[in-house]
Symmetry: C2
Subunit: 147 residues, 2 copies
């Protein structure tokens, strides 16, 4: 299967495209001569990974009929100092908020994504180390502390 | 150096973040249960590559004092059929529009980006093949054909 995009220079260091009809612009940060008018290209790699595994995890938990209130995913990436500047590691922190959540089942969904379904993590793992951790915020306990 | 983002589930299969203050949302395509309300995560990888090398090439040509009217970059990616679905190859087509452009110097800027500066291509090359070609549209010749 083929995926294609066409990207246009917009002056300065900005480039724009449309992905499935959705406009997307990137720009360089000011330290690299851009205007920081849009996300920088390398940062999109972090969002591609978080989005890919996030979609998997939400889909898997839906099939497992496991409810929760919120999921946030933090991506912390190590960037090398020398050119070409590459990410040498990315760490994913999956932060679930909900009541009486079963950490084993959440972990199972994460493992299924990272080991089996998420193409972005499979690709990135060829170039850097990918690690992850799980945090659970129990809203019943939190709620009990409120007046 | 560290790069970090925090990504929030927005319901359905959509996730949002802010990169350097710029909001960015992804969604799954309808075939995967999403609403196609935003770019899908894997497509961001194509934009990351085009943007990274595009910024390099524009910056290098500016230093070389080489003018041109427009630069478009086409990315054609091969996606595997089996899970995890990965890109096995990306081909970049750099399309310059301008008058009397020197293909050798344009090629030199592209090579400097892909071989030396572009971190995204250096990372992707660990996971897939990266190839490129150069097209030049001479606007003087085109212009001469107009009335």
């Amino acid at each position: 299967m083929k995926n294609s995009i066409s990207v246009d220079w917009e002056g300065g260091l900005a480039f724009s495209t449309a992905i499935n009809g959705h406009p997307l612009t990137i720009d360089a940060n000011e330290e690299f001569g851009g205007n920081n008018a849009a996300p920088n290209p390398k940062s999109l790699m972090m969002m591609a990974l978080a989005g890919c595994t996030g979609i998997d995890v939400v889909s898997i938990l839906k099939k497992m009929k496991i409810g929760y209130e919120h999921l946030a995913i933090q991506v912390d990436a190590d960037l090398s100092e020398e050119h070409p500047k590459v990410y040498t590691a990315m760490h994913l922190t999956y932060i679930f908020r909900g009541r009486d959540l079963d950490s084993n089942r959440l972990q199972r969904a994460i493992d299924l994504s990272l080991d089996k379904y998420c193409g972005v993590s499979a690709m990135y793992r060829q170039a850097m180390s990918i690690s992850h951790s799980l945090k659970i915020i129990d809203t019943k306990k939190n709620g009990a502390q409120r007046p």
